[in-house]
């Protein structure tokens, strides 16, 4: 019988992953500034998408208001940096903590009163919209006028997280690598198993001793804190924060398309999905502008989603993994061929 390698990802996968990231890092040295900016945004949305993907793909909790956590992270960094001159690192930590608390509170309130599934998703929208409206009227955080980071000049500073476009390219690429590793590690840990069980059948997992109430709060809180880091980085890259752009429904939707297309709850799904959908969105947007068809990008999103749900319901990444598995089995392990055929 074939030995299941489940303790650690197998060596081939790790090497492939590192090679992929090495290529992306080298691209950072040679691409033109337009592509660098585009990929930076792709990486940041991948990173935020990974947090959303953990929450739904492993924890089974749907959020359509993840912009709430993104906004909390973005504003924490912006306020502490612009108003108090503190390093964005503090802002990231504060944003994480705030988002974790907000997420835990939201989840606690919701699950305490048995608000589940799609109703919880509606609650996340309501919370995000509420926060957006509050921030729009709050002078201290710039209200509708937003907050602007002072223009950066001088050398790249890792401590102040300020630098040129290429600097942010590498920062966000590092974030994605972190996100991929964290997802892979969580999937293989106690939390990953328990969360997947809870996602598949809540009552059955409770009968097996899973404290689902606690774990649902934990996964929302964890995902929120993760998204807040992404929000903080996004604020720095954009150089400004506005309630409508950083906390709007648009952000919540942009986050979830990549992971769905790429493969929910998988380590690479959000990256693959966002690499495909976001440039597609920009391209469709540019074509739409050129020919005077506004909203063409949304049509593109819609088509991408329909195509994936139709053709590869588990997402692109799981499809790649499955076909790769059958190819390697055929070529490397001739003796497994019969087993393959029998299936």
């Amino acid at each position: 019988m074939q030995k299941k390698r489940d303790a650690l990802p197998d060596r081939g996968a790790v090497i492939g992953c590192l090679a992929g990231f090495a290529v992306l890092a080298m691209l950072g040295g040679v691409l033109n500034s337009h592509l660098i900016s585009l990929l930076t945004i792709v990486f940041l949305f991948t990173f935020i998408g990974q947090s959303w993907s953990i929450m739904l793909g492993l924890g089974g909790q749907l959020s359509i208001g993840h912009a709430l956590f993104v906004g909390i992270g973005a504003y924490s960094v912006a306020v502490l940096d612009i108003r108090y001159g503190l390093s964005p690192w503090f802002g990231l930590v504060v944003g994480m903590a705030l988002a974790a608390i907000v997420g835990a509170t939201l989840a606690w309130l919701s699950f305490r009163f048995e608000v589940r599934g799609i109703y919880f998703a509606l609650l996340t929208i309501a919370a995000a919209e509420f926060a957006r409206v509050v921030f729009s009227g709050w002078e201290f955080v710039g209200a509708m006028q937003g907050l602007f980071f002072p223009a950066h000049s001088g050398p790249n500073s890792f401590w102040m997280l300020r630098g040129d476009a290429r600097f942010y390219y590498f920062v966000s690429l590092a974030a994605v690598l972190l996100g991929v590793s964290a997802t892979a590690l969580i999937r293989q840990s106690f939390l990953g198993y328990v969360w997947r069980a809870m996602r598949d059948d809540e009552d059955a997992s409770r009968a097996l001793g899973v404290r689902t109430f606690l774990h649902k709060i934990l996964v929302v809180s964890f995902s929120g804190a993760w998204a807040a880091i992404g929000g903080g980085l996004l604020a720095l890259v954009q150089g400004s924060v506005f309630p409508d752009s950083i906390m709007g429904m648009g952000i919540s939707v942009d986050i979830l398309v990549g992971p769905i297309v790429g493969g929910l709850g998988t380590a690479f799904g959000p990256l693959i999905g966002t690499l495909i959908t976001l440039p597609l969105d920009h391209l469709a947007s540019a074509i739409g502008n050129k020919f005077g068809i506004p909203g063409l990008n949304n049509v593109g999103y819609g088509l991408a989603l329909i195509a994936v749900v139709w053709l590869l319901p588990d997402g692109i990444w799981p499809a790649i993994v499955n076909s790769a598995k059958s190819i390697t089995r055929f070529s490397w392990f001739g003796n497994l061929r019969m087993e393959q055929v029998k299936k």
Binding site: M1, Q2, K4, D6, A7, Q188, S189, F190, Y193, V194, R196, A197, D200, D201, D203, A204, S205, R206, A207, L208, G209, V210, R211, T212
Partner: protein
């Protein structure tokens, strides 16, 4: 010595329906006990009350001397009561082994420890060779045993089995009975919901009969089949004749 499980005047009402009506019984620390009765007698409800899936409307349930009625299911599991579901509920996305590991995570957070415990539980029910299979590849008897292995991996002192033999052919059911006997010999206490009387006669040392939610008789299998009320209400007149 205190009894392992003690139900005292337990009732459960669903609106106008009294599903479990003032049921009291005690379980000793080892052996196989069967809870029998016709459809709708309140067997599964009684099970759900013990396992904490539902709180009782009235009465108290003690486990190892401590009150557990009203506790949530996950706490009751952690105290040492493992249960299966009548309709098997595997996590379809996971392998057989991973399914069983979930139960072990109630007492450990180490993946390697959970994996060892899950293999052990699968070996106990004879599913060891299928540990890495996908759920969709399992036959019905295998699925029933998977449910049992999942409950076993939580390391229970009391195992609640809800119709694990329903829908099985006689030789398959006999294999399950053999597994249950082995578990009982290891000191596990088993409470079995079952309505195939022949299996109950074969497997259980003690039988509790429910009818319309109330307990109508309790005793050895031999005693139960000769009990006039049981014969009239459940087995039918033909059984004694």
């Amino acid at each position: 010595m205190t009894d392992l499980l003690e139900l005292d005047g337990v009732s459960r009402r669903f609106g106008g329906l009294l599903a479990v009506d003032n049921v009291s019984f005690r379980l000793k620390c080892e052996g196989i006990t069967a809870l029998v009765g016709p459809n709708g007698a309140g067997k599964t409800t009684c099970f759900n009350l013990i396992a904490g899936a539902l709180p009782p409307t009235q009465g108290s349930i003690r486990f190892g001397g401590e009150i557990i009625s009203g506790f949530p299911a996950e706490d009751i599991c952690r105290l040492g009561i493992g249960r299966t579901f009548q309709v098997v509920r595997p996590m379809r996305d996971m392998t057989v082994l991973e399914n069983v590991m979930i139960g072990a995570f109630s007492w450990t957070r180490k993946v390697s420890e959970a994996r060892d415990a899950a293999r052990e539980a699968l070996d106990m029910v004879g599913l060891g060779p299928k540990a890495d299979a996908a759920i969709s590849k399992l036959t019905l008897p295998d699925r029933k045993m998977l449910e049992t292995a999942k409950a076993l991996s939580t390391r229970p002192r009391l195992l609640l089995l809800d119709e694990v033999m329903a829908g099985l052919r006689p030789p398959e059911a006999a294999a399950v009975v053999a597994v249950l006997r082995r578990l009982a010999e290891r000191g596990l206490s088993i409470l079995l919901v079952e309505h195939v009387m022949r299996i109950v006669m074969e497997a259980a040392e003690h039988v509790i009969v429910l009818h319309h939610g109330a307990k109508i008789a309790e005793g050895t299998p031999r005693y139960i089949v000769s009990h006039p009320e049981v014969v009239a209400g459940y087995l039918g007149e033909g059984f004694s004749a």
